[in-house]
Point group: C2
Chain length 531, copies 2
C-alpha cells in the first residue's frame, strides 16, 4: 500500500487543499514524507452527507453482515503487513513490540465486537404482548429494541495510533451499533491513519455497504473537528485526548440546535493506595512494580499511576527508596510528539518548582530529542488539599506520592479528587477492613477499582470499564473499552401494535433470530411458538 | 393528613421564608389555602447535603430492602385516601376518574420498579474470570456491575400531578437505581405535592433509611430549580415540561464545573399519518377516534396528536368532516393552570391568524374560566415546510392537518420534523409497502411507533419508550416511562482482582443473589459453583 497523503471520503481518496502538514518522527524531530493536505468545510460537508445517506441502509444490515464487516476490517489491517508497524514506529516513536501488540489488540477488539453483534443482547429486545381483555383498559402489543443513533464523529488519539485511532474502540463500537463513522485523524500519525483508513474503505466496498459508512478527514488545527461536531448529521462524538480538547468538543456539542452526546475520555491521575499491611510486607516490591507501571510506554497511558497515597512512616520510605532507585534506572523513552514532550517537561518543571513538593528522583539524563525523563515527587496531604494544581494530570512518567498523616488524611485526599478512570488498592488480609471502608469512596470516584495490580493495561472484554466521573470522561454512564461501549451509540425504539411483517426481525413473533428477549418481564430465548 | 404549606427536608418539615404562593383552582380562578412558603438557597443547600450524606448508605441497600421501600411509598400514597384526589382535583381541574386512574398508575409504577429492582438484571453483572495462564499476558479477574449515579433532582410536571410529579416515574426510577431524590414541586399543585411528599418521607422513616433519601422543595420562580441543578452534589436531573424550561436546565447542567446528564421530556407534536387504504376504508371512524385522542384531558398530554398527515383528496375531506363534527361537539374542559390556558389561547390565535392556515373547526364556546376550546386546522405541505412556526407544539387540544399532494410531499414533511415522542401510522393491508417505506424515517424521528392506534395513553411496562430525539427529549438514549428508565441513573464500575469478600454481593463467586450474569460472554444464571 502507498501512503499518498490523501483523505478518504466515502469511496474516494482526495488530497485536501488546506494547509499541508507532515508527520514528525519524534525520535529525530524530522518531518516524514508525504505531506498531508488538510480538509476544509467542503470535505466535512461531503463526508457527513455520505454518512447520512448511508445511515438507514447500514443500520438495517443483519447481525451476520455487520459482524462480517468488522472481521473484514480486522483482516484488512493484518493484510497491510509490516508497512503499518514501520510507519507507526516512525510516527510515534513507540517500539515494535508495543505496536505489534497494539495491532493485535485492535483486530481483537474488532473481532470481539463482531461476536457481540452476532450475539444480539445489545438490542435489548423487550416484548409486552397485547392483553386485549385487561380491565379497565386493554394493553396494546408493545415491543422494544435499540437502534443506531446516527453518524458518529471519532477523533483519533495520539497515544494509541491503532487501538484508539482510526479503527480503534470508538470506531469499532460505533460501527457495531450500526452507525456510520467519520474519523478526524490525529495529526501526529496521519500515515498510519491513512493505511488503516484504506483498509476500512476496502472492507466497506468488499462487503457491499454504502460508501458513506466510513470517511477519514485530516486537518492540522481544530477547524475540521469543530465543523464535524457541529454538523447536524453527526449524532454522537467519540474522543480520547486532553481535557482541554474534550471540554471544547463538549461545548460545541451542547451549543448545537440539537445537542448530542460526547464521549470524551480525558484526564485521570489514577490514585494508587498502599494500605499499611501490604506496604509493611512488600514495600520494595511495590516500589519496583509501581515504577514499571509508571514508566511503561514513557507513561503515556490514560491509566498511568500519577498519584500514590500512603500513611507516612518507615514503610513508605522503603517504598520510596525502591521506587527512586527504579526511576533512576529507567531508560528515557521517546515521547509521542514534540508537543506532548513539551507539555510533560513543563508539567514536571511546575511540580518540582512547587515549594510544597520534594523531587524524590528523576530518570537518567536524556540522550535524544523528545525523550521522557521520569520523575518521582512527594508532598503532604495538606499541601495536596490546598493546591488544585497538584491534582492536574501530567501526561507522561511523573507521579506524586502523598505522605498522609493517617487514614483520615488519606480518605480526605481521596474525597477531594476529581473523577478517575481507575483507583488501585494494594492490600493484604489485615488491610481488608481499611479497604472496605474506602470502597464507597472509590466507587464514587472511579470507573475501575483494582486490588494488588497496576492500572496500566486495559483488558478488552465484557466487564471492562474504561470510564469514570468527570473529568476522567464526559459521561460516566459508559465505557470506551469493552463490549458495553456499543451502548453509547444506541437508542431505544418502541413498536406498538405493528403487524409482524413490519416489525424488525429482532422483535417478530417466533423469535426468528433466536435472541435473548425479555417477554412480559421474563428474560429468556423465547422459542418458535408465538409469545 | 393536613396540608401545612411546608417543605420537607429530610425528616423535617418547615415553612419556606421566601415569597408565599397559593395554588389556584383553575375552574374558578380562586386561590386555595394554605399559602406555601418558597425555599431559598439555604433549603437547597440543606436538602443536597442530606442527599449526599444518604447516598452511600442508600445505594448500598439490598435489592429486597429497596424494593420494599418503593412498595411502602405506594402503600403510603393509597393510605392518604380521598383527600389526595380532592386536593388534586381542586389544584388541576382534572376530573375524579382521571385522577383515580392516575393514582393507580403511580402506585403501579412504584410496584413495577420494585419488581425490577428485585429481578436485578439492571445491575448488568458481567464477569470475565482470570486467565492466569493466558499467553502472552495473563488476564486479571474482571467483574462489572452498575451503581447509582448520585443524588437526582426531579422536577414535578404540571400535567400529571401524580404520575410525573413528586413520586412519579422520575422519582421511582431514581430511587430504584439507588439515588436519593430532591424534588422541586410544580407550583401548580403544591398541596398534592406535599401530601405525596409526606407519604414518601414516612416511607423513608418506616424503612429505616437515611433521611436524606428524599426532600421536597417549593419555589414559585426558577431560582430554586436552578440552584438545585447547579449544586455539585446533584448528579442527574429528571424533568418533564416545556421546551424553554428543559433547555434552560440543560444549559445550567452543561455549564457546571462537572456537567451532568439532564433527562428532560419537552416538546412533541406526535405526527399521525393516515395512509390511503386506511383512509378510504374508514375516514369517518378515524376522524372521530382522532378527536377523542385530541381532546382527552383537554389535550394536555405530551403525546397529544398535534399533527396529521394525509394525501389530499375526498377521503381526507371525509376524515376532516367527521373530525370537525367531533370537535364541534367536544365539551370544553378546564385546563391545568391559567398560564397553560393563556399559552394555548395564544398559540391557537397565532395558528388561526396564519394566512396559510385554514380553521376547519373550533369547539363550542367556553362556559367557564381557563377552558380549552378545541381547534382543528389545515394547511398545505408547502406551507408547513416553509414556516417553522407551524412545527411548534401547542399544548392543548389543537391539531394541524397537512394536506399532502402525494407520498413524496408527505415524506418530505416527515423528514423535516424535529424529534418526536411518537409517530402513528393508520394503515390497512394495502398500505403495507407505503408503511414499510416510511418506517426508517419514523425510527429516526420518534421513540415510539404505533399502528392503528392513538398516541395518548402510555403504558408503564418493560417495552415502553417515552422518549425520542431532541426536542422531544434532551437525551434520546433513554425513556422516562417504563422499566428501562432505571438505566438513566446508573453507571458501570469494574472490579479487578478484588477478594471475594470485598466484592459487591452481585458479583461474588457462587452468585449468591441468583442474578442473571454474563460470565465470559455468556448470559445465564451461573450456579452455586465458582465460575
Amino acid at each position: 500500500m502507498t501512503i499518498r497523503g490523501e483523505m478518504l471520503i466515502g469511496a474516494t481518496a482526495l488530497r485536501g487543499t488546506d494547509t499541508v502538514f507532515h508527520a514528525i518522527d519524534p525520535s529525530t524531530g524530522t518531518a516524514l514524507e508525504p505531506g498531508f493536505g488538510g480538509g476544509g468545510s467542503a470535505e466535512v460537508e461531503r463526508a457527513c452527507a455520505l454518512a447520512w445517506d448511508a445511515f438507514d441502509a447500514f443500520r438495517d444490515t443483519g447481525l451476520e453482515a455487520r459482524a462480517a464487516f468488522l472481521e473484514a476490517i480486522a483482516d484488512g489491517i493484518m493484510a497491510i503487513g509490516d508497512e503499518l508497524i514501520q510507519r507507526a514506529m516512525a510516527e510515534t516513536g513507540l517500539p515494535r513490540p508495543r505496536l505489534e501488540g497494539e495491532r493485535g489488540r485492535t483486530v481483537g477488539q474488532l473481532r470481539l465486537f463482531a461476536r457481540t453483534v452476532r450475539e444480539g443482547s445489545w438490542l435489548d429486545a423487550r416484548i409486552d404482548p397485547a392483553q386485549p381483555d385487561r380491565a379497565p383498559l386493554p394493553r396494546a402489543d408493545l415491543r422494544q429494541r435499540h437502534i443506531a443513533l446516527g453518524p458518529v464523529a471519532v477523533f483519533g488519539a495520539s497515544n494509541f495510533p491503532l487501538a484508539f485511532s482510526v479503527a480503534g474502540g470508538d470506531t469499532a463500537s460505533a460501527l457495531a451499533a450500526g452507525c456510520p463513522v467519520v474519523v478526524k485523524a490525529h495529526s501526529a500519525h496521519p500515515g498510519t491513519s491513512e493505511l488503516i483508513g484504506r483498509a476500512v474503505q476496502a472492507a466497506v466496498a468488499a462487503c457491499g455497504l454504502p460508501e458513506g459508512v466510513f470517511s477519514l478527514l485530516f486537518g492540522s488545527g481544530n477547524r475540521v473537528g469543530t465543523a464535524l461536531v457541529a454538523d447536524p448529521r453527526i449524532k454522537a462524538v467519540g474522543f480520547t485526548g486532553s481535557r482541554t480538547g474534550g471540554v471544547a468538543l463538549m461545548k460545541v456539542a451542547a451549543a448545537r440546535p440539537e445537542p448530542i452526546p460526547v464521549y470524551a475520555e480525558m484526564s485521570s491521575i489514577n490514585p494508587v493506595i498502599l494500605l499499611p499491611a501490604a506496604l509493611a510486607a512488600r514495600a520494595e516490591a511495590l516500589g519496583t512494580g509501581f515504577v514499571g507501571s509508571l514508566t511503561m510506554g514513557a507513561g503515556q497511558f490514560c491509566t498511568n499511576p500519577g498519584l500514590v497515597l500512603a500513611i507516612d512512616g518507615p514503610d513508605l520510605d522503603r517504598f520510596l527508596d525502591a521506587a527512586a532507585t527504579a526511576v533512576g534506572g529507567a531508560a528515557p523513552a521517546t515521547m509521542l510528539t514534540p508537543g506532548i514532550h513539551a507539555a510533560f517537561t513543563g508539567g514536571v518543571a511546575r511540580l518540582s518548582g512547587n515549594a510544597a513538593v520534594t523531587t524524590r528522583a528523576r530518570g537518567p539524563e536524556t540522550s535524544g530529542p523528545h525523550q521522557c525523563r521520569a520523575g518521582l515527587f512527594t508532598t503532604s496531604a495538606d499541601a495536596f488539599l490546598d493546591d488544585p494544581a497538584l491534582h492536574e494530570e501530567i501526561f507522561g512518567a511523573a507521579s506524586l506520592v502523598i505522605r498522609c498523616a493517617g487514614s483520615q488524611a488519606l480518605r480526605a485526599v481521596l474525597e477531594r479528587l476529581e473523577g478517575q478512570l481507575t483507583a488501585t488498592l494494594h492490600m493484604d488480609g489485615a488491610d481488608a477492613e481499611a479497604a472496605r471502608a474506602l470502597l464507597p469512596v472509590l466507587e464514587r470516584k472511579a470507573g475501575r477499582i483494582l486490588a494488588n495490580g497496576w492500572p496500566t493495561g486495559v483488558e478488552v472484554c465484557e466487564a471492562m470499564v474504561h470510564g469514570g466521573p468527570f473529568p476522567a470522561t464526559s459521561d460516566s454512564r459508559t465505557t470506551s473499552v469493552g463490549t458495553l461501549a456499543i451502548r453509547r451509540f444506541l437508542r431505544p425504539v418502541c413498536y406498538q401494535d405493528l403487524p409482524d411483517a413490519l416489525l424488525p426481525e429482532a422483535l417478530r413473533r417466533g423469535n426468528p433470530l433466536g435472541l435473548w428477549r425479555r417477554v412480559d418481564g421474563v428474560l429468556g430465548r423465547d422459542g418458535t411458538t408465538s409469545p
